[in-house]
Amino acid sequence: MTLRIILQLALSGLSIGSIYALVGLALVLPFKASGIVNFAQGEIVTLGAYLALILSGLGLPYLAVVPLVLLGAAAFGMVTERLLIRPIVNQPEFTLVIVTFAIGFIIKAAIRLHWQDNTFSIDAPFVGPPLALGALRLNPAYLVFIFCTLVVVAALIVFFGYTKFGKAMRATALDPIAAKLMGIRIGSVFSAAWALSSMLGAFVGLLLGPVIGINPEIGHLILKGLVAAVIGGFSSLGGAVAGGLMLGLLETYAGAFFGATFKNLVPFGVLILLLLLRPQGLVGGTSARRV
């Protein structure tokens, strides 16, 4: 077990972990804003990839495709929130869960209607042969994943910490009624949260698509995003990022040392253990009520 292998695995783990982190972030955002887990998030990732496919097919280069897909996703998120989510916010939990599942189901069905289950590919500037760094072979895509996640996290920190709207969103998440009384348009906050989370999801699709191929099953990723979010207690954006990275590393090392079966078991084992033993996540406060 050489240092080189450990480092390679670490890079692998961090890069896939970055993807998980982004999906986790996309899940925690609307949860903090409107208390809803968007189970369509996986399909939004898929949607991002297919939007990229469409635009690519029109001849646009990858770097032009990216902002267009993000805009499209943001619009999608806002429309979904306004038309489908807001009317039913007061329904019991199952209804909300099923509605987001149904939205995801419709997206996937529509995609499969047109493209069936085939896998497509598109070009991206970061897909290429491994770069050499000393004895390490670094897949440029991995580096891009990590780099992009860092940029996204930095942007979110700036947004939530220093911009007026970002602070308004934090206030709304803490206490929607107080926020409303202070003149914050909470409707806009909800829309923005969903737009942002859709953008994040689509961004993941944009990153993954060129690397693993574009097909309807990409959405299965949501499960990993859920685990990442839970590690962060589902309430902390930083926790979701940390959670995603941890999960990526755990999975990669488990797979390398114990084989594929363990690799598959890791996320769910972690999920169950956390939920049963420490539901507030590894990052989070405690609650007092006993029933």
Binding site: A288, R289, R290, V291
Partner: protein, 254 residues
């Protein structure tokens, strides 16, 4: 005979001390009031006694049994019931079903007997349904028997809450602000009912209230709480004359 003995009870939430070294004795058969301004710790006392919250220290003895820190449903099975300030009814079920649920503890058939609708289940259900009807009648709730509890006016919901709590046949009933949100007329009727409960059914009542006037009419003894501590205890008249009480509380009398 002391039915409920609270000794040096302390309840803390994080850094906040809700109840500090509280000692209180409630005799069997009496109507005991607990009043105090907001933040005095009244709800925390109820929550600690009923097991919703575990106390930091101190002892709570009910009928000679130590109950501090036990699970709420265990405490209630010893004969300690409560009503809720915000009612906590089962909103989408009928008034009948709400009160019927109160009899849960007194029905003894098991899951298999329920699933197969054995004779003992049918018997138990028939008897209990009858008792529910009587209880509803005693509280004037019969016209609302099929109405979903969540649709009722607040005052009537409070009555359902009391009827439901009584179904469990408590020896001691803790009433959390039973007349808050009621009109004058409703409050008077509620007081009459509570007095009847104590006299005719022999239930010990502990009434937590803001409204001093109500307690004057109703309670035999009153304990005044302030900032988590017992300020004074005695008859309502004594409390109204007590300068410390007046200072701390009656300044913002109801």
């Amino acid at each position: 005979m002391a039915l409920l003995e609270i000794n040096a009870l302390s309840v803390r939430f994080g850094g906040v001390v809700a109840v500090a070294e509280l000692s209180l004795v409630i005799a069997g058969g009496e109507i005991h009031g607990i009043i105090g301004p907001n933040g005095a710790g009244k709800s925390s006392v109820i929550n600690a006694v009923t097991g919703m919250v575990a106390p930091q220290s101190g002892s709570i003895r009910f009928a000679e049994k130590e109950i501090a820190g036990l699970a709420p449903h265990v405490i209630s099975s010893f004969g300690l019931g409560r009503t809720f300030q915000h009612v906590e009814l089962f909103g989408d079920r009928s008034v009948f079903d709400n009160v019927l649920t109160g009899f849960y503890r007194h029905q003894s058939y098991g899951l298999l007997a329920a699933a197969l609708r054995l004779q003992k289940t049918v018997q138990s259900e028939r008897e209990t349904h009858e008792r529910v009807r009587m209880l509803l009648d005693a509280f004037g709730l019969t016209p609302f028997v099929d109405t979903p509890a969540g649709l009722l006016p607040f005052g009537i919901q409070k009555r359902v809450d009391i009827a439901r709590a009584l179904a469990a046949e408590p020896r001691l009933l803790l009433l959390d602000e039973p007349v808050s949100g009621m009109s004058e007329a409703e409050a008077e009727m509620a007081v009459t009912t509570m007095r009847k409960l104590a006299r005719e059914h022999g239930i010990t009542l502990v009434v937590v209230e803001h409204n001093m006037r109500v307690l004057m009419n109703l309670a035999e003894r009153v304990s005044v709480l302030n900032q988590g501590r017992l300020l004074a205890s005695g008859t309502p008249a004594e409390m109204q004359a007590n300068t410390a009480v007046i200072e701390a509380y009656l300044g913002d009398a109801a």
